[in-house]
């Protein structure tokens, strides 16, 4: 398929430029630097791999319009994982509806030249014109090294090599001009890295009528990736005979070179190391870069784990300490809005919907915005600085031992923010069993949506005291909940490995990038987008669910209850005949109002259902309100806060001293059963609720993503069933054992 085409209506030719490279080589930064805001995000047809395209123009090349395609990051075109397959297909121009690139810009991390050249060799075989963008040369120079880019260009067969620092925009204009000049010029001759045996094999395959227009790169993939997607496509296009011909040529090649996988990695690595050795020069006598010096401490077996633990503790302590003042402000703001809006609406269902449902429900969720922001600031700093892969490296031993791949760690760490991108990130895992195992356990990581549930319970029922004089108990409990998810994930993975996937442990190959100072704009943009998503979610899905829960908790609003209480109110008012008993009567009236609100709530559809289900959850220490809040939050776990906010607003009259949800929960008592009159929430009950939320899969988006990634409903159902069962048993154990210990 030819990429260059006339742009309709402009008379300008559109040149398709693919930007490719290893993960974390700064590919997306180069893409952003070239296109600015002129970009579109979508998906590749038929798959969930994200596709970003953008446009740009080049001075003095007015007759050309350039369309830049961001190809998924990959280490090799030997396609085994879905991301690699899409990257290979895109570079070979095999995706229906997608043009073959006219020019491929291979972005390489100058500090990891050997490994990057491995990929460059493969891209050179695709048949399109190739440019190498040598990124992060500033970091290379800081480490006391330099690259002779002219020599590198020569050794790569004349491929243009442009040194750039994408994060600062250095060299981007030169790169654009090189793209424009390279289009239409003769393609460079790739170095013969595969050797004579491959040349003979390629000729044999071509002679035996290979499909027309197929590049050497595609034929190499057909030959080397046994049973891979390239082979399947080749056989499908060439008919029955092509399979036999291919197997014969491959058999001859194997006789010459041995194992095909080892052969390719061997020849490419050898050539890459040889070229890197010729172009890299150490100019400084400094032997250890700053990264090496930091890593000596951060990756130390003992000190490294201590630093990791300390960072986690600081993060969770900060969530409480720093967010508190702003949360109080937001709380007061919603209190003031409720007090201002309420009297403007006539008494009745609409006033209750606005004050108890919308402000009480959605407001209770939005209060947690400062904590979410602080969590994401920490995550963004840890990711941008390059610490995250090191954290993965530190805990790798435990993960590898339980059957997960080293590559499982990044998806699992991403799941601390949200399980959805975490599950999508498992596409980099080639081994299907390890990928499935990672998908199964990733939702156990405590995502940001669990944070409001944890913090409201901790703030209300865990004393704000110090442990060992310097550690806050509240922060410690929060850290333990995050740890609980990780430990349970390891145990589940181990059990699945022993009883279901009886396989060997995975190996670990992970790049440790150089440390970088996170920039304010990068952290700011990421925190802002995530905070915006949280607010939007509260204003849309949570808002809609809150309205329905309010309606179920308000109606039928029986007239019988209204008449009964009106009669009792009249009796109290008639007895208040002199100033001495007027004060007593007003107290009785407030108590009666609370009793009336409680009676309406118990009689509501939500209340009736809750009381029916309550016996199943009493062993967990929950009353019907907690039970219903937990059940209502199965589509999205933040709903529990909105539901508690709504039902505690409906179930009691607000007075100035107990306006917040925390105060109302502290004052809540059992309405029936043997514990009538006793507080519903105790520290043990709060722990039981938190453990339930830590282990339960209350997220529709996660289940839908698992279905999309695994191709069926089997795994989402498995995840839902095992996590819900685990959550119930965990909460039961906490309440029964904790209740026994503290009673």
């Amino acid at each position: 398929m030819k990429g260059a085409a006339d742009k309709p209506g402009t008379g300008r030719r559109t040149i398709t430029v693919a930007i490719c490279g290893n993960p974390n080589c700064g590919k997306s930064t180069v893409f952003n630097a070239i296109t600015g805001l002129r970009q579109q995000v979508g998906n590749y047809p038929g798959v969930t791999v994200e596709k970003t395209t953008g446009r740009f123009s080049v001075d003095n090349f007015d007759s050309l319009a350039f369309e830049l395609h961001d190809i998924p990051g990959t280490y090799s075109l030997a396609a085994y994982s879905p991301d690699e397959y899409i990257a290979a297909q895109a570079l070979f121009g095999q995706i229906a509806g997608e043009p073959r690139p006219d020019v491929s810009v291979c972005v390489i991390d100058a500090t990891n030249l050997d490994r990057a050249l491995y990929f460059v060799f493969q891209v050179q075989m695709t048949g399109s014109a190739v440019i190498v963008a040598l990124n992060m040369i500033d970091l290379l120079e800081k480490s006391g090294q330099t690259i002779d880019h002219l020599e590198l260009s020569k050794l790569l067969g004349g491929v243009p090599v442009v040194p750039i620092v994408a994060s600062r925009g250095q060299g981007i204009e030169q790169l654009k001009a090189t793209i424009a000049r390279t289009f239409g010029s003769a393609n460079s001759q790739p170095p013969d890295v595969y050797g004579p045996a491959m040349t003979v094999a390629l000729s044999s395959l071509r002679e035996s009528s290979s499909p027309r227009g197929i590049s050497d790169g595609e034929l190499i993939r057909v030959l080397l990736d046994e049973s891979g997607p390239a082979e399947r496509a080749y056989i499908a296009a060439g008919g029955d005979n092509s399979r036999e011909r291919l197997l014969a040529v491959r058999a001859r090649l194997k006789v010459e070179v041995g194992s095909l996988t080892t052969f390719e990695s061997g020849v490419l690595s050898k050539s890459a190391t040889a070229i890197a050795g010729k172009v890299l020069t150490r100019v400084s006598i400094e032997h250890r870069s700053p990264t090496d010096r930091i890593d000596a401490i951060v990756l130390h077996r003992v000190a490294g784990l201590f630093i990791l633990g300390a960072l986690m503790l600081i993060m969770f302590q900060s969530i409480f300490a720093w967010a508190e003042p702003i949360m109080s402000l937001i709380d007061s703001l919603f209190g003031a809005i409720s007090g201002w809006v309420g009297p403007m609406i006539p008494d009745g269902p609409v006033r209750s919907l606005v004050t108890d449902g919308i402000i009480g429900g959605v407001g209770s969720v939005l209060i947690f915005l400062p904590q979410i922001v602080i969590l994401f600031i920490f995550i963004a700093i840890l990711e941008d600085s390059g610490y995250m892969p090191r954290a993965a490296f530190l805990v790798d031993r435990a993960f590898g031992w339980c059957g997960l791949s080293g590559k499982s760690l990044i998806p699992m760490l991403s799941s601390f923010a949200c399980a959805v991108p975490g599950i999508m990130a498992t596409r980099t895992i080639e081994n299907r069993r390890q990928r499935i195992l990672t998908i199964i356990v990733s939702p156990l990581m405590s995502c940001s949506a669990r944070l409001p549930v944890y913090t409201i319970m901790i703030a209300a029922f865990i004393p704000n005291t110090m442990v060992w004089g310097f550690l806050g108990l509240q922060g410690l409990v929060l850290s333990s909940l995050y740890l609980l998810g990780m430990i349970v994930a390891i145990v589940i993975a181990l059990l699945v490995r022993i009883f279901v996937f009886k396989g060997q442990r995975g190996s670990f190959l992970m790049e440790l990038p150089s440390y970088k100072m996170p920039t304010l704009s990068s952290v700011g943009i990421r925190v802002f987008t995530r905070a915006k998503s949280f607010v939007l979610r509260a204003g849309t899905v949570i808002f809609a669910i809150t309205i329905i829960i309010w309606a179920l908790s308000y109606y039928p609003h029986s007239e019988k209850i209204r008449d009964d209480f009106a009669e009792r109110r009249a009796q109290i008012q008639s007895s208040a005949t002199n100033p001495s008993n007027t004060a007593e009567a007003s107290g009785q009236l407030l108590a009666l109002k609370n009793e009336e609100s409680g009676a309406y709530l118990r009689d509501s559809y939500f209340g009736r259902l809750g009381q029916f289900i309550e016996p199943a959850f009493t062993p967990l220490g929950w009353d019907w309100k907690v039970t219903m809040a937990a059940l209502a939050s199965f589509p999205a776990r933040e709903v529990v806060i909105a539901t508690l906010g709504t039902i505690y607003n409906l179930g009691s009259e607000t007075d100035e001293e107990s306006s917040g949800l925390v105060d109302k929960m502290r004052a809540a008592v059992w309405e029936s059963g043997p514990q009538t009159g006793q507080p519903v929430f105790t520290p043990v009950v709060a722990l039981s609720i938190m453990v339930f939320f830590a282990l339960c899969c209350q997220c529709g988006a996660t289940l839908v993503t698992i279905k999309q990634e695994t191709g069926g409903w089997g795994y989402p159902v498995l995840v839902f069933v095992y996590m819900t069962g685990l959550a119930y048993l965990g909460a039961l154990a906490v309440y029964q054992i904790g209740g026994g210990l503290f009673s």
Binding site: S28, N43, V47, T48, E50, T52, D70, G73, P346, G348, P349, V350, L353, I372, F376, A417, C418, V420, P421, M424, C447, S448, A449, S522, I525, R526, T529, R530, S533, F534, R537, T540, V541, F543, A544, I545, I547, I548, A551, A636, G700, A701, T702, V704, T705, Q708
Partner: protein, 47 residues
């Protein structure tokens, strides 16, 4: 037409809109390739 009628009508409209929104959202999510749209944390600003 009294105030109670209008209050009930407003509440009914709000509930119907909420249910409609959730159903539309669920159907859209089923069609979409990515379930990220409603997640609080997905859009990280980089790939």
């Amino acid at each position: 037409m009294n105030g109670s009628f209008w209050q009930t009508a407003i509440v009914l409209a709000a509930v119907a809109t909420a249910i409609g929104y959730l159903i539309r959202n669920a159907l859209r999510r089923r069609k979409a390739q990515s379930a990220c749209a409603n997640c609080p944390a997905v859009k990280s600003g980089r790939r």
